[in-house]
Symmetry: D3
Subunit: 67 residues, 6 copies
C-alpha cells in the first residue's frame, strides 16, 4: 500500500514516446489526466492505447482552484 492516496482509474487514450520522456493521456471519470513519465518506465510498463491503468498523484502535488 502506497501513501499516495490519489488513484484515478481509467483507460490510456494515447502515448507519445520521445527520446527520454513519454506523455501518457488517461481518460478518467472526471476528464483526462496527462502524465509525463520516463520513456524507460513507459517501456517497462509496456503501455499501450486502451490499457486499464491508474493515474497516481501524491497529495502534496495537488493545487486547488476556485472561482
Amino acid at each position: 500500500m502506497l501513501s499516495a492516496r490519489n488513484k484515478l482509474s481509467g483507460k490510456v487514450r494515447s502515448i507519445k514516446k520521445g527520446d527520454v520522456m513519454a506523455e501518457v493521456i488517461v481518460e478518467v471519470g472526471g476528464g483526462e489526466m496527462a502524465a509525463l513519465i520516463s520513456r524507460t518506465s513507459a517501456d517497462q510498463l509496456d503501455l499501450k492505447e486502451g490499457d486499464e491503468v491508474r493515474a497516481v498523484v501524491k497529495a502534496t502535488e495537488v493545487m486547488i482552484e476556485k472561482d
Copy 2:
C-alpha cells in the same frame, strides 16, 4: 491559461486545517482527490465544504500504475 492541463472539477467534501498546512478532499468524477496546501492558501480561498473547485496537477507529477 496555465500550462498545467490536469484540472478535475468537483465539490469540496472536507477540509482539515492545521497550523501550517490544510488537507482538502475533493469529490471528482473518478473518485476523490486529496490536496495538501498551505493553511494560508486555504484561508485566502475561503474554502468551505460544498465549494465547487478544480483539483489542478502538473503532468510531471502524475505517475501511472498498471497491473
Copy 3:
C-alpha cells in the same frame, strides 16, 4: 484563483521545444526561472520569445538555501 501563490511575472527569453518536453526560460525580477513543461502545453499556450508570462510554483516545491 489558484492555491499556488508563487507567481513571478516576466518575459520569455527562450524556448527550446523537444519531442515531448519544452524548456522555457523566463526573465523575472530576481533572475531567471527555467520551466520544464510538456511540448503540448507550450504549443497550446503558443509561447514565443518576448511573451509576458508568469512562472507559477506550488509552495511545497520551494526549498531554502542558506550559507
Copy 4:
C-alpha cells in the same frame, strides 16, 4: 553544484513554524516566494526573519501562465 538552476536570492520576511511543517516567506526581486519545508529543516538552518537566503526550485516544478 546542484542541477536545480532556479535560485532566487532574497531576505526572509516571515517564518511560521508548525508541529511538522514550516512556512517561509522570502522577498525576492520579482515579488515573494512561499516555501513549505519541514520544521526540522527550518530549525537546522536556524532560519530567522531578515536572513539572506535563496529560494531554490527544480525546473520540472515550474508552470507557465499566460493571459
Copy 5:
C-alpha cells in the same frame, strides 16, 4: 507496477505526527530518507518505528549534485 522506479527499502526510524502532516524517517542503504506525507496516510498505513517500508520517489523529483 508503478511508473515510479525509485524504491529504496529500509526500516522506519521515527515518525512525528502533526495535525495534518507526518514526518517519517526511513533508514535506507545509502543513508536516510525523510518523507513528508499526510497524517491521514500515516494512520492508514499504521506506520510504526521498525516497520519495513520502501521510500518511493518519482524520477522527475530527483536532483543531481556534483562537487
Copy 6:
C-alpha cells in the same frame, strides 16, 4: 546548506541525453536512483559515467510504501 535533507551519495551508472531532458541513473547504497533533469543542467554539470554525485530529493516528494 539546503533545506532538502535527502542526499544519497553514489556513482553515475549511465546518462541518456535527449533534446530537452536527460535521464541519469545513480548507484546508491540501497539500490539505484533515476533522475530526470534538463539536458542543459546535465551539460552544465558535465555529468559522465563514473562521476561521484549525490541524488537530492525534497522530503515532500517522498512516498512510503508498506506491504
